[in-house]
Amino acid sequence: MPTDIGSILIQLFSGLSRAMMLFLVSSGLSLIFGVMNILNFAHATLWLLGGYLTYTLFQLFSNTFGDHALLIVPAIVIVTGIMFVLGWVLERVLIRRMYAREVPEQLLLTFALILIFGDLIKLIWGVQNRRIFLPIEPIAVFDSYVNPYFFVIIAAGFGVAGGLWWFLHRTRYGKIVRAAVYSRDMVSALGIRIPTIYAGVFALGIAIAAFSAGVFLPIMPIGLGLDMDLIIQCFAVVVIGGFGSILGTFVASIIVGIVYAFSIFIWPGGALAIIFLILVAVLIWRPWGLFGTEMRY
């Protein structure tokens, strides 16, 4: 266990930035489940695909325009857009056929997507890990050094969280999404084109995930298998926070992210076990999650 303030702070920053990634991926997962009742197991695999695309685009930009750290910004923005479109198409072509089906069939379909996109990634990028190196000098914090990029990630996380809150509470489209969580039939009976809402929510969820993958590339190498680790932790986050609650997802992400960062120090092999212990404790205490409610028509 680190005892000096410097390394504790580093763990805190790394935990917070991990929390941001968990939040960005889980918020889409939770939103998609809340609105469409679909558990998208392939969510983290699409996150991974977004990361690889950002990697390739960044390499392309660097080769064309020369090395520049800021080139990661257009790469992330473009990939977020591409993944939004991909999410939209996936929903229109595949996912929407699953709404009336039973859960096992939904699982089969999303699991098939994991295999398909996983193989696609293997085919294009191979099996070795990829990462982006940004020329950033670490800054001194007490006796240790912190990569200032952590602050970029934390800011991006808070920014997207705030943006999502604003979207859900202040825009007409966002309010419709919240209404659809309670009753899609009633929303539809009010004349709102529910298929557009569904496609939009799915695409938004995928786009946010892809965004987070891009933002993380400079501090975390991505590789096959990472999607499985991530999806399991995201399920833990969503269950702890309460399905469908964005605030719950945010709080749970921070808990899980920070606990994970510190448990890696104390008991590296057991970090995931500790998270699941928390999950079990929360479920016993509040079966609907910290911020979840039973209220659902």
Binding site: A179, M186, S188, A189, G191, M295
Partner: protein, 236 residues
Amino acid sequence: MDELVVDNIHTFYGTSHILFGISLKVNRGECVCLLGRNGVGKTTTLKTIMGLAHAGQGAITYNEKNLIGLPPYEIARMGIGYVPDERLIFPDLTVRENLEIGEKAPLTRDVAPWTVDRVYQLFPSLKPLDGRPGGYLSGGEQQMLTCGRTLMGNPSLLLLDEPVEGLAPVVVQEVTQQIRHLKKMGLTILFAEQNIKFATEISDRAYVIEGGRVRYEGTMEALEQQSEIKEKYLMI
């Protein structure tokens, strides 16, 4: 002219057969009532018209346009508004936000569109609740909000499912006035009801339903004379 024509519909929930050939017509500007006891198929009839339940057989037309097979949002966009009996208020949206969600442009330009303020004029008790979450309203307030939310879509035909179910007598009188007012404004109304007394106060004609079939149809005055029908199929 017939605005809504339901012709011999059979509706199923999964494998259970609920409606056995219901036929009915609603003329423009009329207020028609579906009367019957619990579980006879009134809600199912309204849901089938709205596209929320599926007719395996039969035809439904609205202004001569087919409704069968259309999703609810297309049906709503043709000018039909549905006020469910389960109320289905969006609980974490405020009263105003609930109303705004229902907003939809009118199909014709010659009528003044509904606004939040006009809904508050019709239902004055909603006005002070403007910023309150829909989940914290009383039953009567929820009923008015559900109705106001549907009106915001500027429908010309209103499907009302037991609008006064579970309301206190004073509130029932208020709602009666409000429905009369809507009728005067030219809205066509088809509503489901168990209580013939309330139905008589606002409707022109009635269809008495039992076991998923229409057992009697006629004006309210004619139904008044049919003591056998009333005893057999209705609660008096």
